[in-house]
Symmetry: C2
Subunit: 160 residues, 2 copies
């Protein structure tokens, strides 16, 4: 299993994540953009993931909700920018519990020898907002999701 590498360099409000998956990039792109696949891996396993909308085009909106066992809901939404493709897409990210606090994420998929590396570059409105995201357990949440994505991709493309 690949390692999730998370970099949050001192003094700049960026988080960069690198993670390799054993799958071609078109499949990884589908897993990141098709609701039926997304709900099978994104976010902490303890939440039910419900996709409200996922309109992957320049100017299109996305929204999903994480629902816990007590019925509490945590909504997230944003908008796609650029012309989304496996080469690159940009999306804003806003937790509905903190309106107006927005991150800007760029995702790129690079395929070498049938394996795909996901590179994400996230920009925050302040160093404090970036640090809060790191302190809030982002790494564990992402890694947990990516392990489920490993399993999903393995089911979709059995490796010889």
């Amino acid at each position: 299993m690949s390692e999730t590498r998370i970099q949050a360099p001192d003094g700049v409000p960026f988080i960069d994540v690198t993670r390799e998956f054993v799958a071609p990039r078109n499949l990884v792109f589908r897993a990141f953009t098709e609701p039926d696949l997304l709900v099978q891996w994104l976010g902490p396993a303890k939440y039910e993931m419900v996709v409200d909308t996922y309109d992957v085009r320049a100017g299109g909106s996305w929204r999903y909700v994480h629902r816990d066992g007590q019925g509490n809901e945590f909504g997230f939404h944003g908008v796609f920018h650029g012309d989304p493709s496996p080469d690159s897409w940009v999306q804003t990210f806003e937790f509905e519990g903190a309106p107006g606090h927005v991150a800007l994420d760029q995702l790129r998929l690079v395929e070498v020898d049938g394996r795909t590396t996901v590179l994400t570059h996230s920009v925050y409105q302040s160093l404090e907002a970036r640090d809060a995201m790191v302190a809030g357990g982002m790494a564990q949440g992402m890694d947990s999701g990516f392990r489920r994505l490993d399993a999903l991709l393995g089911r979709l493309v059995p490796v010889a």
Copy 2:
């Protein structure tokens, strides 16, 4: 006439702008959000400004076009985040000539003694993108627009 103060600190991908206007903040908010007013001041005076859409609400889109004397058009668009009000609103900013290169702008209006200070905080995806924006004459463009906004606000609210 007030001075436009632009700060682009070393090492972080931010641009912060401060500018005072002689008008109450509800009027300044209208000038920043109503197309009929916006076209009278935003951008360099040499361009005709055409607002395509300006849907000022969480998740709403905006788009405008600058048209020069030769009929060349330069489009810009983005999406509003947060719950836009004079206290604070957030909007993405994307030049259609460079899709996927996005800035995240927060604007706040603070009124003291009938004068309103506009504070903008813009975040770029890289230091290089921020530096390119500064090098591209952003300060002159903003200052030119703000002088026209001074005049517009003066016509709307004659000062005793």
